[in-house]
Symmetry: C2
Subunit: 338 residues, 2 copies
């Protein structure tokens, strides 16, 4: 009867929250369930609203990331949510719960990292809240952006036959996390590459803008939970399924070159790792040629076609030998046990 | 050299953060340092942005507030910040860090409380983040509102000669907290009154709107840190000082009737308690008659004139015997030791 959070899991909890929320007020074009909420304040342009909470010892270890990197990443992951809707970021609010023994320098470094990430996008930190924590350091970022209403890309727009694209390699961040956790080992230079991918993600704001402004794509999401789980979010919201082609999934030279994967494969890192912060885009087949042209003209990131949207529900992968397998849901669930 | 957060205190930290923030982007009319940030998205109307983080065992005890009350209060304190700028609340984002052993019912009750408080103002919960906490429950609310640019009331508008008003009694919430902490005792019915004041604050959105729409006031703040500290915020931002008249500070019948104050007086609770969530308004002397008329026509709350803004810096109080004393800064600092 007294069901615990870890028994229904993160996605069960979100679903229960969503069901229990009031019918949205006029102007709410999208509530819970996409990368950002979408609110129409005035005709033509919409506000994009997103928030992410980072908890020490859950999302990061104090020993494995510098305060500067942490501040930078806290902003980057929110920028990535704005990128995934095709938006332009504007202003941020920062809430910090700080254990009283932290140094002023540590907090200033955290802010320096945040400003470093805000700068190129002219995002202003306009407010926040600083409170004492009796436990861990907690960072909550709330980011507000905007976009032309006709350009917003939701998770729900994918249709059977649409091609699936990724804007960069996947799996490196997960390999970095595995190194931090001592699950795998790597040479010093490889380890540095993977740790950078994990600790210093770059949000793809310009890439998201190019995709949205082209008006040629049907859906978009940023890869935070992992390729399989995030493609599943697109599939669920769109009422479709998807097929990935193993050979086409872009892996870095470094990930392919890793000698010690423990009991995992490069594909495992790519499919279920998470925190890649590249964009997954679906594009109707008749738009793909024009889309690829528009994209390559700008050259803000790479582009890989990795599969297609299908009518049949579920996420499948076609292996090199031609066999097709159903992917079990492997996204990161904060509340499920080990 | 490695200065600790608890050595510079909350306000020192906020000052250090403010100094280190980038020059704000175009459109940021107010950054850190008021009840809300103010961002002009389009001519005429401005966005109001505010966020508050509530940490278990710092801001509340699990044993002394129900999840329903807690959810309600988390929204109320943010609504109060919108009220203090004269704004209309629109949409909210909720981040929760949840210890895995909490029950689903507890989290649903928390959301029920949030919805209960959002309902009358047609505020939609449009998004958020739910993560695992290894320590305490943490709730971050980010609330976005709007207001006509000409109606925004900042902390910085007070001028010498302005009269100071409160829109309700002060000190009851602090008495409730003192009861919860076992510092004072009260009869069952009095205790219920104070606990309600502490656990179930009502934000004064309508009152804030009436004051802002009248265009007769010069500055406004909501009392969260305590009358003395919040008046000091107004004074500092406006470059002025203030005089409070002890006899005019509105106390509830219940606070006056409390038998056991331990080593404190009702005035102590009123001046340095905090969490009253009434509005403090300054009004130029020549506007006071019209202001009081406009206010009383609507009757959304009480109104008490409690002092005046003065040129000389600092916050003073005139006691019943005519003596005037300087008030030491007594606001709640999250990082200062006991």
């Amino acid at each position: 009867l007294a069901l615990k959070i870890n028994e229904i899991g993160e996605f069960g909890l979100i679903e229960s929250i969503r069901k229990n929320c009031l019918p949205p007020r006029e102007g709410v074009l999208k509530g819970i369930g996409d990368d950002c909420a979408v609110y129409q304040l005035s005709p033509g342009r919409v506000l994009l609203l997103t928030t992410d909470m980072l908890v020490e010892d859950v999302h990061f270890l104090r020993s494995s990331v510098t305060p500067f990197q942490l501040g930078r990443k806290a902003i980057a992951v929110n920028l990535s949510d704005i990128a995934a809707m095709g938006g332009i970021p504007l202003v941020a609010l920062i809430s910090l719960a700080i254990p009283p023994d932290r140094t002023v320098e540590e907090i200033q470094e955290l802010y320096r990292g945040m400003r470093e990430m805000c700068g190129p996008y002219a995002v202003s930190i306009v407010g926040g809240d600083t409170v004492a924590s009796q436990g861990n350091l907690i960072i909550n970022v709330c980011l507000i952006g905007e976009v032309d209403e006709r350009e917003v890309l939701y998770r729900s727009g994918a249709r059977p036959g649409d091609r699936i694209y990724l804007t960069g390699v996947v799996g490196d961040s997960a390999a970095g996390l595995a190194i931090l956790k001592g699950e795998i080992t790597a040479s010093e230079s490889l380890a540095a590459h993977f740790l950078k991918a994990h600790n210093e993600p770059d949000p793809l704001i310009e890439t998201g803008r190019i995709i949205a402004a082209s008006r040629l794509a049907s859906a978009m999401i940023d890869l935070s939970d992992g390729l399989a789980a995030d493609l599943e979010h697109i599939a669920e919201q769109s009422g479709v399924g998807a097929l990935l082609i193993e050979n086409e999934i872009p892996l870095s030279r470094e990930l392919k070159g890793l000698a010690d994967y423990a009991d995992r494969t490069p594909l495992d890192f790519a499919l279920s790792g998470g925190e890649d912060y590249v964009l997954l885009v679906t594009v109707p087949a008749e738009n793909t040629r024009e889309f690829e042209q528009a994209f390559r003209q700008e050259r803000t990131s790479s582009l890989f076609q990795v599969g297609e949207i299908q009518k049949e529900k579920g996420i499948r992968i076609r292996h090199e030998d031609g066999s097709v397998k159903e992917l079990a849901h492997k996204g990161f669930d904060h509340f499920s046990g080990p």
